[in-house]
Symmetry: C2
Subunit: 219 residues, 2 copies
């Protein structure tokens, strides 16, 4: 299958589009598991509660995938979405903070996959270092971060420490030349523009439920 | 301070708008902590990397909050966002699945707050029942779900079980008349339209990083 053809500028793609590409990929995975070979944007929208015009617009940034009147080949669409999201190669991930959240993410089947491999989980607490985690990794000493990043070719750092140490860990990740940081600590962390830093706020999901519980369910 | 005035239909508000309201609330919380009293949509956008036209559009669904040429009162905006999101009262939350993720959420400071109170964490594993969790709750027997929901007036159920038991737990939550379900198990769960069911997919965050690592960083 050929690569995506269209040139696009990263700036023109919103984070919402990127998040939707992930959702489309999940949908296409399900269709493939069901043995469905082609799907139109309307069918995709209807089946998964999406917006068909939005699907077409999001995909159009990257090329012309569908065939008018026929729809998308599920296999092709899966291939292109995987390529667009950069999931056709392995990204090595390191987690700092071997508490419950770090340990959970370490073997959370929605987190790790063919595309993301957690290669280390670190902590600075001597009582935790050397302990096994459910995923099979042993907790390693956080002071070895730079060395581990280099040796195991880690790209992405995940912070699951308490809030008061998150910035220090982020600084260490930046110094170790990690290319991207995903922060779960409930505090803003900062770094240079050359490192991609994102924070995850799980409370937004509860707040969405609260909105609907307050104002009525969507139809 | 008066209540939000404008009548709006829940259907007209997208989930993305709701997610952004959560983000605006975090921003306004920070401004308040810094002692800032008024803010324009432009300042808000610039300071937190948002889109000022989007901010005005999102807020306009719910009323006229700002003063032209002056901006928003931070305190008022916080009050209205809290009210719009239904966070001016406590929502009681129950977690089923006392593994690492359930335990982490149980005392995750980004999850619980004044507006969300985790009142129980349940599991069906006899070895876990009766064990204390870091947040102070004891793990209770999952077979008591209905009774606990009734007695403690729980509204929201959170599923952190393995994938193969998630649908059964969801069915039990529906039968117990929980109004909303937040599913972290890596599987789709279904229920009647009268119950609000949302699934959280933490991998979307890694996939966003992967997109930028592949195509270059946004400026």
């Amino acid at each position: 299958m050929p690569s995506i053809k269209r040139q696009f500028s990263v700036e023109s793609i919103s984070e919402l589009t990127i998040a939707r590409l992930s959702i489309y990929l999940r949908c296409v995975d399900q269709l493939e598991a069901l043995g469905i070979e082609t799907v139109s944007s309307q069918e995709l929208a209807q089946r998964f509660n999406l917006n068909s015009a939005q699907i077409r617009k999001d995909l159009a940034y990257f090329g012309e995938f569908g065939v008018r009147g026929v729809g998308y080949s599920v296999r092709e669409l899966r291939h292109y979405l995987t390529e667009i999201l950069g999931l056709n190669r392995e990204h090595r991930v390191l987690i700092v903070g071997a508490g419950n959240l770090g340990t959970a993410l370490c073997h959370y089947s929605r987190f790790a996959s063919e595309s993301f491999l957690v290669v280390a989980i670190l902590d600075s607490d001597p009582r935790k270092i050397g302990e096994p985690t459910p995923g099979g990794l042993l907790v390693e000493d956080a002071s070895r971060l730079g060395e581990i990043v280099r040796q195991r070719e880690v790209e992405i750092g995940v912070i699951t420490t308490p809030p008061d140490t998150a910035q220090r860990v982020c600084d260490q990740m930046v110094a170790a030349h990690l290319r991207a940081v995903l922060n779960f600590a409930p505090v803003q962390v900062k770094g240079p523009k050359s490192v991609l830093i994102r924070s995850v706020d799980l409370k937004v999901h509860l707040e969405e439920l609260s909105f609907y519980l307050t104002h009525g369910m969507p139809k």
